[in-house]
Point group: C2
């Protein structure tokens, strides 16, 4: 940019490896009135140092409008795409950028304030991969050098960076962190900047190790993957330690939406709590428009409008449900009924399996299984006989929108009996005076 | 303390499990003028609720003076010791304390400012062990409840806590965090407190998992342990990922100094860098007065004045060193010499093993091995023939003080030849014109 960081970086790299091994790439953001003068300065500097120079002009504000990204995100995307393109043009294997230790402290603090968890507290890496061009190495040689040292270097080597302008490149939030928050934290601990840098180093090593050990679990965890979707084995996922449960959710989101850079831990945590529940069919919303649908044996992550293999029972028409008997639902699912001859009332009351239901046969009468009907109401167990729209019950239980219309309902001629896998109706519940008890069980046959 | 937190805690526990299962313990810190009125209030409240009550008076300022701890640390130690004692007196299995979500946010921030790494960012645990009484469970039932909710609970249940006084219990630093820093962070993100709490939860899970996986490595890592010391296998330690290298150093410090609560990552990092070097005999200082001495095959952690089995060569008198030949040093060490018949100059120049040295035989002459002499000087290789006191060379190389007086020196009649395992003298170095070359090797025989 012609600022102290990139100028120092270019000067140092020229000292270390010579102009022949370098090319300079400059992005003109089109946001600032002085952008042209800046570009001219960088071009003149590079030329006078015999370093090939490429530049790109991008209207970041317009790009942000088009893509729905923030101006900062849009600028970042455009920059790295151009850097990758420039690197390929020159046959380079690596892209070096000028982030310094102060930038790192600011990034760690910003991520802390945004609540982005360990991944964010690790800040920027000294060596990584260019986003969107993973074959290119991304280097940050100045990441452990303070801004003050970089400015001293400029003075010592008579470099005259374009000073005031480069600051405006950063977002308003980052500027407030830099000019207000960090100075006020320094009143509590003058070493706050190096501390934040060291914290980033520690967290990077810890996070890398957790990630690396986690990767060994991933193949066993993965149940399937396709265009815009991915499924994890729910049982295997539940057996993981909490830390890896979170990593798995994060990795799944990134697998279906690789461009997603920020995944806050609040959304991960909400998804995790949902996926830990016994019930199925619920849906959670994750960053990047990724939905998590909790299937019978799978956790399914998908982009909007993706055709995902369903992992839940579905039915399209009404069929009689004999007792005892078995009805085939679509997708290999079955609904099986039986007469309970020796009921254990305590076990029935504490039944932990939502896919098995016990009902009072005399209250139930002849049964059918069918999709829900428009405006249908039920009296969910435990609401003291109050009734609710089946649609609202489904929404309250966070059941996936696309599963709701064909979700199997067991009913008699008068009313709902069982919202399969979810909830029985108060009117058919087993009580101490029940004479005849039926068991219903829904499961996938293969 | 009679403050909102402990009063709410006692009230809630009484509702949940009844007075018969509880006992209240109050520490009178003797720091505040109103301490007696506070103790009276707690006693009266407990008595009116039919809960047995014990109290202890402790002069925390005096205790801090005696032990060298800060007032805050001393108070903490005294409190938990008393709680453990009270728990045993009543046959209790757990101690519950009133820390709330605001306390947690403050703790995380304080630890962030102090630079205490992942262990500190995890903050307080909802369920843990009483410090110094590991058989007792320590519970923090209010850790996810905000201070505002606790105060609302007090109002709703007509509890009248002793308000103003309880705040002074906290250190000045915590008060500044509470009243200045957190409000200013809230201007950047109104959700900062819940964010910090969630961060703590995430970090706890990640750190627990890293710890748990690390514990499987520990037995292989441990080389020996005694009163006030512990040794790790240096080779095995170096093979660990960075994250576990840090955990191992932390665990070693805690093993020899269990009372150490804060281990900053800067000291861990300095020790780690020292232990990664090829040389031996160096010493690093860790928190709690623990020294790390880098031995030949061991990393030795010890308290001051601890008799530790040395893992470095030592010699007490001058003996001739024949070439070729072998001299036994104490502790199973040997110094072996040989004539190099087909010298590979490049390999000699790049020799990575500090325990093997090559010298110009004609420059060396007849050799001895002995302890250093008072005021002895050498010309360390690579300093362009400048000379330095052997004592200063040893100090600069951070060699352990107790090892220095008996560290073996190879010398001829005129001057130092080799500070064994560390540095050869410029005057005996091998050059392109060397005619005769000797090899010296120091190693442990068993």
């Amino acid at each position: 940019s012609g600022g102290p960081d990139s100028l120092t970086l270019l000067h140092l790299l020229r000292q270390l490896c010579g102009a022949d091994w370098l090319a300079a790439a400059h992005v003109q953001h089109g946001l600032r009135p002085s952008a042209q003068a800046e570009a001219d300065f960088v071009r003149e500097t590079a030329t006078s140092w015999h370093i090939p120079f490429v530049e790109m002009q991008v209207d970041v504000a317009e790009l942000a409008r088009q893509t729905g990204m923030t101006v900062e995100e849009a600028g970042r995307h455009a920059r790295y795409r151009f850097f990758a393109q420039a690197a390929r043009q020159f046959g380079a294997e690596a892209v070096a950028v000028g982030h310094n230790a102060d930038d790192q402290a600011e990034t760690v603090l910003m991520n802390l304030l945004r609540g982005s968890g360990l991944a964010g507290l690790g800040g920027m890496r000294p060596v990584g991969r260019v986003p969107g061009a993973e074959e290119l190495v991304l280097l940050r040689p100045l990441l452990h050098t303070s801004r003050a040292d970089i400015e001293a270097y400029c003075v010592a080597h008579q470099l005259q960076p374009r000073h005031d302008e480069s600051n405006r490149d950063t977002s308003y939030f980052r500027n407030r962190i830099r000019h207000q928050l960090l100075p006020s934290l320094a009143a509590f601990n003058p070493q706050i900047k190096p501390h934040l840098g060291q914290l980033a180093q520690v967290v990077q090593a810890d996070y890398d190790l957790l990630q690396q050990l986690f990767q060994a679990q991933w193949p066993d965890l993965l149940a399937g993957q396709g265009e815009g979707w991915l499924a994890l084995r729910r049982g295997a996922w539940r057996e993981l330690p909490v830390s890896w449960q979170r990593l798995a959710l994060r990795q799944a989101v990134l697998a279906v939406r690789p461009s997603q850079t920020e995944i806050g831990f609040r959304s991960i945590e909400q998804a995790r709590e949902l996926a830990l529940q016994d019930s199925s069919g619920m849906q959670a919303h994750l960053p990047g428009d990724v939905t998590l649908t909790v299937g019978y044996k799978r956790l399914i992550f998908a982009l909007p409008d993706t055709a995902v293999p369903l992992d839940a029972p579905q039915i399209s028409r009404r069929v009689p449900l004999p007792v005892p008997g078995l009805v085939d639902l679509s997708g290999g699912w079955a609904l099986e009924t039986a007469v309970v001859t020796k009921p254990d009332l305590q076990a029935i009351k504490n039944n932990p399996d939502p896919w098995t239901a016990y009902i009072d046969a005399d209250a139930a009468g002849s049964l059918f299984v069918r999709p829900r009907q428009p405006g249908e109401r039920m009296q969910p167990l435990g609401l003291d006989g109050r009734s609710a729209k089946l649609k609202d019950v489904m929404i309250n239980r966070k059941m996936a929108r696309e599963l709701r219309p064909s979700w199997p309902i067991v009913a008699n001629e008068e009313h709902t009996v069982w919202l399969v896998g979810q909830q029985i109706d108060e009117r058919v519940r087993v009580t101490a005076v029940s004479q005849n008890i039926w068991q219903m069980r829904c499961y996938r046959q293969k």
